[in-house]
């Protein structure tokens, strides 16, 4: 009981040996990469690589499971690179690559694991089985790990196709969907551990599964998984940060919408005894929209800065930009309703659901139905 009175220790003092070891590994890895590839990088690239070390370290200190996650995903990616030996054709020959950790193999495993995780969470929810819930968590972590591995390996593979083709895998709809699965799964896992509520997983995994369904369709029907070189408009440093920032927003809004559905069902008495208390759902919904809104703001600003460089104006009222603004206004309104007007519950839950529909339109619909300057992601 003594503890309640003690002021918390300063943050750095709370770090364990493993935290420091993790940081050391990151720093050594980055140093090695700089040494190996520094000659091919420009100032921005180097800056980004160096900045990744404290960013990941902080993330690992702040939320401990990130440490093994990052180590395993990067480790697997390094293993894949080792197996490739600089020859793309070995994808078909090396067992490990062909069946486990070539980018496509890893991504297909990710898809399967997400599907299994969804089933496990639903069993956990319906049968009130803690074991199934734990299985769901483990499967989601594995899926997230493989999706990060898949993206990293894909990055490497793109350079094997041709040095001028190589680029970070956030440049087309296929790649960003994998990114979406990764980010949404990680964010969900964070809130799951923060609130110790596995039953939310059943709902959140549904929207991730939908993304997985899209990835599978896109791969098998459209062959969209192939790595294409970057058209000049996308050859920009801004892309590397604009796109991921956007997906933190999309992922967060997706989670919020699924929790909105859960809230509405629970309020009608459906699954109510199995789901977290409405206040908890409401609170997580607020947290996700808050983080999503913050990152979406950053992403939109980065987009404007990129547009200023690529199109000659930071704001052209291009349909994609305009819909980003509408999404942003929508969630700004959500936050105002909750924080300024003190609204809770039903209206906000519905609003979050409509919000994800608007967001989906901004993300996919604009590319499909409206023409504009944004040059990636035609279906």
């Amino acid at each position: 009981m003594e503890l309640a009175l003690n002021a918390p220790q300063p943050f750095l003092k709370r770090l364990s040996m493993f935290d420091w070891l993790f940081t050391l590994v990151l720093a050594v890895g980055a140093g090695y990469a700089l040494n190996l590839y520094g000659a091919y990088m420009d100032g921005y690239d180097k800056g980004m690589l160096i900045a990744t070390v404290p960013a990941l370290a902080w993330l690992g200190w702040f939320w401990k499971p990130v440490r093994p996650f990052v180590l395993v995903a990067f480790g697997l990616a390094l293993l894949a690179i080792y197996f490739y030996q600089g020859d793309l054709a070995r994808m078909e020959q090396a067992f490990f690559l062909k069946y486990l950790i070539s980018s496509q193999a890893a991504i297909m495993w990710m898809c399967a694991l997400i599907m299994f995780a969804t089933i496990a969470y639903w069993i956990g929810l319906l049968a009130r089985s803690p074991f199934a819930g734990k299985t769901g968590t483990a499967l989601t972590w594995s899926a997230a790990t493989l999706s990060l591995t898949g993206l990293l390996v894909r990055w490497y593979e793109s350079y094997l196709i041709g040095p001028d083709v190589g680029h970070i895998p956030v440049s087309n709809l296929y790649e960003v969907f994998v990114l979406f699965v990764l980010i949404t799964a990680l964010m969900y896992l964070y809130y799951e551990s923060r609130y110790q509520q596995k039953s939310m997983g059943a709902f959140v995994m549904l929207i991730i599964s939908a993304a997985v369904g899209f990835i599978l369709w896109y791969t098998f029907d459209r062959q969209a998984h192939q790595i294409q070189p970057l058209v000049p408009a996308l050859q920009s440093w801004w892309m590397k940060i604009h796109v991921p920032a956007n997906f933190v927003g999309y992922g967060a809004f997706s989670i919020a919408a699924m929790l909105g559905i859960a809230w509405l069902l629970a309020s009608k008495g459906i699954l109510a005894s199995r789901l977290p208390k409405p206040e908890v759902l409401d609170d997580v919904m607020y947290k996700t929209i808050a983080i999503g809104f913050a990152f979406f703001t950053i992403a939109t600003i980065l987009g404007a800065m990129w547009a200023a460089e690529a199109w000659g104006g930071y704001w052209s009222w291009d349909p994609k930009e305009t819909w980003a603004l509408i999404v942003w206004l929508n969630y700004a309104a959500w936050l105002h309703l909750r924080l300024v007007k003190g609204l809770r519950g039903k209206v906000l839950a519905w609003w979050a659901i409509v919000g994800i529909l608007v967001t989906t339109f901004a993300f996919l619909g604009v590319n499909m139905f409206l023409s504009g300057l944004h040059s990636y992601g035609e279906l």
């Binding site: 496509q104 793109s158 192939q226 058209v231 703001t297 460089e309 000659g312 936050l335 924080l339 409206l370």
Partner: protein, 665 residues
């Protein structure tokens, strides 16, 4: 409005109210949606076709063709700036006060009414317990103040005041961003237009003849326009598209294009668009040289120059014209240049050739369906994409002023295993091209086809063709008789019909003269006769040109069939000539966009404040705590402007801690 409330005050209330701001934001969102659904800044003709004259005029009056620059849209933005400013002005003083003070004037009664409070008993000295509480709260990140009260002490503490600062930052940021945006919008021009000082130019006239009233001076604060410069050329203006016309913006310097380059990946996708520029001052002195590319603009003198597009800068074309009305296989020379036009006389009629485009590379998908590929392989080996070489486009305008557009490739293309020279035709720019396939001869040229066509078209040669055909068709014993002349007559008839109107003329003949039940068979016979006669025609044509006779193989068979198809299709070609590209001198043009946007810095600064503000608002949690310590008992109260689950947990934790402090010696 009440009578004792002055109008100004009511207006202030309205403008600074959240409801008004939200209404404006909603309007802004709706307007934005309209702007994305209705394609903006199209030529007005397209809108007329789409909506009809009545709605076209209606929508034009509402400014829907350029929503984001419509007067009412700008007014909404301006109101938003005013409203948000007033909102800040109204809330800021209170917030600053809130940030500063500890709310030390709370009374015990008001604390007792709090929803989050916890009373404890203690047996300690009031001052000592208060000190311990202060130490505890400080450890938890609170700043606190001790205020002696009658028979006790009040501890007032708070943390997270920066959250209010966040509000001020984020909302001021919105004002700044809107002002920056309005600065870079076309407010000044709108005002000048309203006052009649400026006018949009709608005529298609040389830039130098555009009158002063449609020109903007180099001093203009902000603009965004574009211009296309051919290699070796220069520009000292850009064009701003406004409504259904344009304005000419004079630049403070001259931009010269030395060279424009395109590079491609091995897959055919473009890899690089790049322009070598020279900047000169208005007197012609060189200022600097630079190379710009997409995503790599040049900024000079506050004007940013971007690689925006590319086009043809007047490539010189050397063509061979084939007169499609004449039964001679001779070509004539035609010179042309893209963006220019030439006259061409054919018989009595004068045609105008308007060259519209030239392309050095054409990456086409010739494999039809791309083969299904391995889902595990990230490498695309699409072998269907090919560079099929140069092509150009020309409009052929007839004496009545109607024009078809043609897209002609220079080199033969392999389709279905055979080589063709392609020529696309379309009636209007919105149609896709329909491609005519002229079969290439053994040398890869169209001479062979043209010779055959000339022979087929020439009635004087038909007699010889049909004679040879009939002789070939009959066994030696039956030649020269009645049968032969009947065969010759019908072959002659078929050739004449075909020469006059291709397959459709034959079809009409069959329909008019042959009984329903026998048409199928007759058609087959006719086609067979036509093909065999054409084979004779081909031999004749080759012999007359001194070429070796055609081989008797499949290739010749296909060539004859393709030739007949092409011959027949030429009746629908719509032009009296086919213009074959012989050689060219490519001159490219680079499309540059130039902008001056002084509001940009304000917008970026505002964006920075916005991000800082949002994080502060959302992640700095404002908390207030009070502890009234009196002899024997103490009351802890906890408050926040926003109740969350964290808040409840903290309350429980702090309550427990205070309890411990109170009970422990």
């Amino acid at each position: 409005m009440r009578a004792d409330e002055p109008f100004g005050k009511a207006l202030y209330e309205l403008f600074s109210s959240m409801r008004f701001a939200i209404t404006l934001l909603t309007l802004l969102a709706i307007a934005s949606i309209i702007g994305t659904v209705l394609k903006q800044a199209e030529p007005y003709n397209n809108y007329i076709i789409q909506f009809g004259p009545y709605w076209f005029e209606m929508f034009r009056l509402l400014g829907l063709y350029d929503v984001y620059h419509a007067g009412w849209f700008l007014i909404i933005l301006t109101f938003l700036v005013a409203s948000t400013s007033l909102c800040i002005y109204r809330n800021a003083p209170g917030m600053v006060k809130e940030m500063r003070n500890f709310r030390e004037h709370v009374t015990e009664q008001s604390l007792a009414a709090f929803s989050h409070k916890h009373a404890v008993q203690h047996g300690q000295d009031t001052q000592a317990l208060a000190d311990k509480a202060v130490a505890y709260l400080q450890g938890q990140g609170f700043r606190s103040k001790l205020i002696p009260r009658e028979n006790g002490v009040l501890v007032a503490a708070k943390r997270g005041a920066a959250s209010r600062l966040g509000y001020l930052l984020a909302h001021s940021a919105i004002v700044l961003i809107c002002i920056g945006g309005l600065m870079d919008g076309n407010l000044v021009f709108k005002a000048q237009q309203l006052l009649g000082m400026k006018k949009i130019e709608t005529r298609d006239i040389p830039q130098s003849q555009v009158p002063e009233i449609s020109r903007l001076t180099p001093e203009n604060l902000s603009f965004r326009g574009s211009v296309q410069i051919p290699e070796g050329g220069s520009a000292d203006v850009v064009f701003l598209n406004v409504a259904d016309g344009y304005l000419v913006q004079d630049l403070p310097f001259v931009v010269q294009l030395k060279e424009f380059r395109i590079e491609h990946y091995s897959t055919g996708q473009p890899k690089l668009f790049e322009s070598d520029l020279v900047l000169l001052d208005r007197q012609g002195n060189k200022i600097r040289e630079a190379t710009i590319a997409v995503n790599k603009p040049l900024i000079h003198d506050g004007v940013a120059i971007y690689q925006a597009s590319f086009g043809d800068g007047g490539s010189k074309l050397n063509l061979r014209g084939w007169n499609l009305f004449s039964p001679a296989a001779e070509a004539f020379e035609v010179q042309g240049a893209v963006h220019e036009s030439t006259r061409l006389s054919s018989g009595e009629a004068e045609y105008q050739l308007e060259f519209t485009d030239f392309r050095l590379f054409n990456i086409e998908n010739l494999g039809g369906e791309t083969p299904r590929q391995n889902a595990m392989s990230v490498k695309s080996d699409n072998k269907a994409l090919h560079n099929v070489g140069p092509s150009y486009q020309v409009k052929v305008r007839n004496p009545r002023g109607e024009a078809n557009e043609y897209h002609n490739y220079m080199l033969p293309v392999t389709l279905d295993g055979r080589m063709y020279v392609l020529s696309g035709v379309r009636e209007t720019p919105n149609d896709p091209f329909r491609y005519l396939r002229l079969p290439a001869d053994a040398k890869g040229g169209i001479e062979g086809f043209m010779r055959l066509r000339a022979v087929l078209m020439n009635p004087a040669q038909h007699g010889e063709i049909t004679r040879r055909f009939a002789e070939g068709a009959l066994p030696p014993g039956e030649r020269g008789g009645e049968l032969q002349s009947r065969l010759e007559a019908s072959a002659g008839n078929i050739l004449r019909l075909f020469a006059q109107g291709g397959y459709s003329a034959l079809g009409q003949f069959v329909e008019a003269n042959i009984a329903e039940g026998e048409r199928q068979q007759a058609t087959e016979t006719f086609l067979r006769i036509l093909e065999l006669s054409t084979y004779e025609a081909l031999k004749l044509a080759n012999a007359q040109a001194g070429e070796p006779p055609p081989a008797t193989d499949d290739a010749t068979g296909f060539f004859i069939r393709d030739s007949l198809n092409a011959f027949s299709d030429l009746f629908f070609y719509g032009a009296p000539v086919y213009l074959q590209l012989q050689s060219f001198e490519q001159i490219q043009a680079s499309g540059l966009q130039m902008t001056r946007s002084p509001g940009k810095n304000l917008v970026y600064f505002g964006s920075l404040l916005l991000v800082l503000g949002i994080f502060a608002m959302l992640y700095v949690r404002e908390r207030r705590a009070w502890i009234v310590v009196k002899p024997g008992n103490a009351l802890f109260a906890y408050a926040t402007p926003r109740k969350t689950v964290d808040f409840e947990q903290e309350f429980a934790k702090h309550s427990q801690a205070i309890e411990q402090l109170a009970t422990k010696e």
